[in-house]
């Protein structure tokens, strides 16, 4: 499981292992304020990051914040 959410310290505290920092609390997988194109681009980037995290061997809680 990979979790996409904004408040990383919370995800760490509750024990999530594969963590993808999200954009903002009300829209973790999107950037709607920047317009539809940007929004979709951001969403795609984060989802791909989450899919990459699912394929990554880890031994402890890991934050995936770059590609």
């Amino acid at each position: 499981m990979a979790q996409i959410a904004t408040i990383v310290p919370i995800m760490l505290t509750v024990g999530a292992n594969r963590i993808v920092p999200g954009v903002a609390i009300p829209h973790p997988v999107g950037n709607p304020e920047a317009g539809l194109e940007e929004d979709k681009k951001t969403r795609r980037k984060l989802v791909l990051r989450a899919l990459k995290a699912l394929q990554t061997e880890i031994s402890e809680q890991t934050i995936f914040d770059s590609d």
Partner: protein, 348 residues
């Protein structure tokens, strides 16, 4: 005029024997027995033990309804003002029996019911919210202290003396929060606490944090191109109208919805009912919380094998750790049984 107290003890403390007498049927002695003798001393002349029920731990555990009814009848007939069971220390069956009979008496007779257990006794989690469980040591070595605390708390309950925090009164807290004024305001108390912490001195939290478990990471997906991925969210995205009445906070349930025919979550069909964040963006385009549109594109493009047909959803805000754990276990089991290889969980 002293208060009338009835006690409950098991076969061992009642002098009937050990494990071999665990099936001892409930019997009444119209006097203090075993620990009751010491307990009576702690009551002084303020309360008098008018009867003791002796019951085998095995009997109570194996015939819970029958034992409960039999004991309650005996207790009722003595017209007590208070009921005291145990202390059970860390004995599991004894703790459950004490908890059960105390809860039954408290509810049926409306009188204070007190028992004593070691915090790890299974009876604690089951009954702490319904009765007063005095905190004891793990064995009868702590008998004297346990009885003293039970007597002290019992008399306070009988007299209606206002109680302080559980910790001060010596019982295991029942999860009830009471508001009251402190002399120093919160910001000052917080600074005091922080200074203690920084100096490496002991400090006492005013609010206990739940303990979160560390889960070993799952092995990575080896073959994403043939993997089935599921979407799960705690962002409260539901079909418009919230057909399953998911709570807006403090969830008691989760739901699953068929998204197999959908390429996109659109505001005419879906909405957010989560009470903990500004739902404006989610209600304009639910994909910003549950990325179905992108997942569908990536699925079509062969990035991964298949998107699981069901979206699992609940509301995260205010949801108890216990419920969240249960949801996670149940959803995880269902997904595993359905052959899902990985999950993307989105939270707000």
């Amino acid at each position: 005029m002293s208060y009338r107290v009835v006690c409950y003890i098991n076969q061992f403390y009642g002098g009937k024997g050990g494990e071999e007498a665990a099936d001892f049927k409930p019997a009444l002695v119209k006097n203090p027995v075993g620990p009751g003798l010491e307990l009576q001393k702690f009551f002084g002349d303020e309360a008098v033990i008018v009867g003791t029920i002796i019951c085998g731990d095995g009997y109570y555990a194996e015939h819970i309804e029958k034992a409960r009814a039999e004991c309650l009848k005996m207790i009722q007939d003595l017209k007590p003002d208070m009921f005291v069971a145990g202390p059970a220390f860390n004995a599991g069956r004894y703790g459950v029996a004490c908890g059960d009979i105390c809860a039954t008496v408290a509810e049926s007779l409306g009188i204070p019911s007190v028992t004593g257990m070691f915090p790890e006794n299974p009876g604690v989690e089951l009954y702490r919210a319904q009765i007063f469980i005095v905190k004891t040591e793990g064995s009868a070595r702590g008998m004297k202290e346990a009885l003293s605390s039970m007597a002290r708390l019992g008399l306070k309950l009988l007299k209606g003396t206002p109680l302080g925090p559980a910790r001060e009164e010596g019982y295991i807290h029942r999860g009830i929060r009471k508001n009251f004024f402190k002399e120093k305001r919160g910001s000052l108390r917080a600074i005091d606490m922080l200074l203690q912490k920084i100096a490496g001195k002991t400090f006492e939290t005013e609010y206990e944090m739940p303990v979160f478990k560390k889960i070993p990471p799952a092995p990575p997906i080896k073959d994403l191109k043939h993997a089935t991925i599921a979407l799960v969210t705690s962002g409260g995205i539901v079909p418009r109208g919230n057909p399953d009445r998911l709570r807006v906070s403090s969830s008691e349930s989760y739901a699953k919805y068929d998204i197999s025919g959908l390429d996109d979550l659109t505001p005419d069909k879906f909405e957010s009912i989560h009470g903990g964040y500004d739902r404006m963006w989610a209600n304009l385009n639910p994909d910003v919380v549950v990325p179905l549109d992108v997942m569908r594109e990536l699925e079509r493009g062969g990035e991964f094998g298949k998107l699981h047909p069901y979206l699992y959803t609940t509301t995260g805000t205010g949801t108890s750790v216990a419920n969240a754990e249960r949801f996670g276990r149940e959803i995880g089991r269902e997904l595993k049984e359905a052959g899902v290889d990985g999950v993307i969980l989105t939270s707000t």
